[in-house]
């Protein structure tokens, strides 16, 4: 067959597929995608720089606003980084509470993704149903933390609020309901022949490519890589309870959906155990009281719903950090689309791009354009700037 004319189908910078601004430049021959150029940089907000002007107590509030969906994953990694630098151990009660909040967030984030994936496939009923079931999880988060999102629960050294005895029965009730509904949703998705047709073998990311692109989170676990910070570098209460890591090997969009749905069920399991342990623990301290700013470096890792979140902090003993660095999971995952969408159709590309559960504004670190679209700095310039700053700060380590 003669080669078809090559055309560019833009997905972005503004497109109904994605809620945020980003630009996927699909090169297509007819319906077949033969090239993908990913251009990010529309959503840069300068969080790292803002953090350098905030006290350690304020930083969790700032990083919480990096992402609306994983709004407790960033504070989770953040407080761990600060505690690591300051050498603080948190009380066990705080560890359990952190785990509970983190896992509640995972459930609602995964359900949100399932809903969106349905929407991207034109299956709006799944969208609405998944989001309805997500609602009860948000409500219980409100009961426990005071907020449906942006919980403001974490602080360096512990948590801000205790989970009191009266909150536990409604929490368990919500978990039971959520279990039933997630199971129902999982069955509905896994048994739907049309969904099978539409998702199986679509957007495959082979294990080799997953390693090559260093993908993290459900994207990696659906491609057969057993990586999960909660298992590999246990923190909070993840080491003290029984739970399983969901790993599938197909690497397609269907596997990614399955991993997320099954992880929701694991999350309810984790929360139940944490609640049980909380009940057994005596009422007590939930804060280790960090007295002064750390002097030195620390890192914090947490398995956000989308993958590993990494926070780095460097303190000089004052109230403010001298350097703050964040790596969000989407920055690793989005790039893997370069191989995952190739060879598929435009229809497959849409769902494949969404399958890594991208979160652009969390990821964006550089914006080097002026208003005329002229490039101000190249990559090498930026590396040089960064090195100069590190040198100014005292040579790094």
């Amino acid at each position: 067959m003669a080669a078809l004319e090559r055309k560019v189908i833009p997905i972005g910078p503004f497109h109904p597929l994605q809620e945020e601004a980003e630009y996927f430049k699909l090169t297509v021959e007819g319906e077949k995608v033969v090239g993908l150029d990913i251009q990010l940089g529309y959503m840069h907000r300068g969080h790292e720089k803002i953090c350098e002007g905030k006290t350690y107590d304020q930083i969790p509030f700032v990083v919480e606003r990096i992402c609306g969906i994983c709004s407790t994953s960033h504070p989770f990694a953040c407080v761990q980084a600060i505690e690591d630098a300051a050498g603080i151990e948190i009380p066990p009660r705080a560890a359990y509470i952190r785990t509970i909040v983190g896992e509640l967030e995972r459930i609602h984030s995964h359900l949100l993704w399932v809903g969106l994936a349905g929407h991207f496939l034109g299956y709006n009923t799944v969208w609405m149903w998944a989001w309805k079931y997500r609602e009860s999880v948000l409500e219980i988060s409100e009961l426990i933390t005071g907020n449906r999102n942006h919980y403001a629960m974490f602080k360096p050294g512990g948590v801000r609020r205790d989970i009191e005895g009266g909150m536990i029965p409604p929490l368990l009730q919500v978990l039971d309901d959520a279990d039933k509904k997630i199971l129902m949703l999982t069955k509905a998705v896994l048994d739907d022949p049309v969904l099978h047709k539409r998702l199986e073998g679509v957007g495959v990311l082979t294990p080799e490519m997953a390693v090559e692109y260093s993908v993290v989170g459900p994207t990696a676990r659906a491609s057969g890589l057993a990586i999960d910070v909660r298992k590999d570098d246990p923190h909070a209460a993840y080491d003290w309870i029984e739970w399983e890591e969901i790993v599938l090997h197909e690497g397609d969009v269907f596997a990614k959906a399955k991993v997320r749905l099954l992880e929701c069920l694991e999350s309810t399991k984790i929360i139940r155990q944490c609640v049980q342990k909380l009940k057994d623990l005596p009422e007590g301290e939930i804060d280790a009281h960090m007295e002064r700013g750390p002097d030195g470096e620390g890192i914090g890792r947490y398995e956000a719903p989308r993958g590993e979140v990494f926070h780095y902090v460097k303190g000089d003993g004052s109230l403010y950090p001298s350097r703050y660095k964040i790596r969000a999971p989407s920055s690793m995952n989005i790039k893997s689309n370069e191989v995952a969408v190739l060879g598929g159709s435009v229809a497959d590309a849409a769902i494949t791009l969404a399958a890594v559960d991208p979160c652009y504004c969390c990821t964006e670190r550089i914006a080097a354009f002026n208003t005329k679209g002229k490039l101000l700095y190249t990559w090498d310039d930026l590396v040089k700037l960064s090195q100069e700053k590190t040198a100014r700060m005292g040579g790094g380590s």
């Binding site: 055309k7 299956y123 969208w127």
Partner: protein, 315 residues
């Protein structure tokens, strides 16, 4: 059967043509949105929402993209609207006044049905937008996919009735014998025609040519203002017309010569058909274009041919 020109215009423009069909069509889209909303645990829009939407669009500007031939780009939706108006007139008149049908109106109906996708393809390809062009090519493939099973479905009932080509005669046959739907061949023909109509309407799982999340509305992407309103109205009217088409050809029409309650119950038939359409629409994801092609050319085509063969042996 000699109608005055005035009556013809009344039929075409007021009842049961353009005005009646557009009002009922917009109400149908309300039913669609409301039922969909209830399925999805939502409240749904108020009764007049489709009318608000339509009139709001009338007040907006129309943009013609650079490089698009004005006459084709703007003319195509109007041709679509006109053809659906005539289509609904022919279908409704043949059921309301079976005596006034003309020979070969079935062929006319088929042609007019074909007009809608062709007009959409024409408008989209003339818009000089690569995404619209992609939508147009998808619509074209889809049209090629469902047209043949649809023809076989109609051939089935023609054979079944012994070669009648007038819609009025087909209805008469159903009234004296039984609706085609209640026979094996007719049921198969109905199922295949129903699926073809789902695709013709561009509803999930066959909304491939519009696919908001993939190609941002595809065929209708470049349209705005009153022209978009015309496109939406055409689609709403087509919605109504499709339900009437299926009722008249396979289910004995919405109005039969029998007296009493049956009159009112008859109007529930097209409603039942759209509820079925809505249910399918809300319990399926969108297919890919190659999957839709395979679906129509294997499963649906086989179904309709099976119905045709059954009809030739008199089942």
């Amino acid at each position: 059967m000699n109608m005055s020109v005035g009556w013809v215009f009344f039929y075409l423009l007021v009842f049961p043509g353009f005005l009646f069909t557009s009002v009922v069509g917009l109400l149908y889209t309300w039913v669609d949105r409301k039922v969909t909303a209830r399925i999805q645990f939502r409240v749904g829009p108020p009764l007049l929402q489709p009318f608000y939407d339509f009139f709001k669009l009338l007040g907006k500007d129309t943009f013609v993209p650079e490089g698009a031939p004005r006459s084709i780009f703007l003319g195509a939706p109007l041709i679509g609207l006109a053809s659906v108006s005539v289509l609904s007139t022919v279908l409704l008149v043949s059921n309301l006044f079976p005596g006034q049908a003309f020979a070969g109106d079935l062929i006319v109906v088929l042609y007019l049905f074909a007009f809608v996708p062709i007009v959409l393809i024409l408008g989209a390809s003339s818009s000089s937008n690569p995404i619209s062009a992609l939508g147009a090519s998808r619509e074209m493939s889809l049209y090629l996919a469902y047209e043949l099973p649809l023809l076989f479905a109609l051939a089935t009932i023609i054979v079944k009735s012994g070669g009648l080509l007038k819609i009025g005669d087909l209805l008469q046959w159903q009234w004296t014998n039984h609706p085609f739907l209640y026979s094996a061949s007719g049921a198969l023909a109905f199922v295949s025609a129903f699926l073809c109509m789902q695709a013709k309407l561009g509803f999930v799982p066959f909304d491939i040519a519009e696919a908001e999340q993939e190609i941002m509305g595809g065929i209708t992407l470049e349209y705005s203002g009153p022209v978009l309103a015309v496109l939406k109205l055409t689609k709403a009217m087509l919605y109504f017309t499709v339900s009437i088409f299926l009722t008249v050809f396979f289910w004995g029409g919405f109005r039969s010569p029998r007296e009493g309650w049956y009159h009112i119950l008859g109007w529930l038939k097209p409603l039942a058909i759209i509820v079925l359409i809505i249910l399918i629409k809300n319990t399926n994801p969108r297919l890919r274009i190659d999957q839709a092609l395979r679906f129509f050319w294997s499963i649906v085509l086989v179904l309709s041919i099976a119905g045709f063969i059954l009809a030739t042996v008199g089942l």
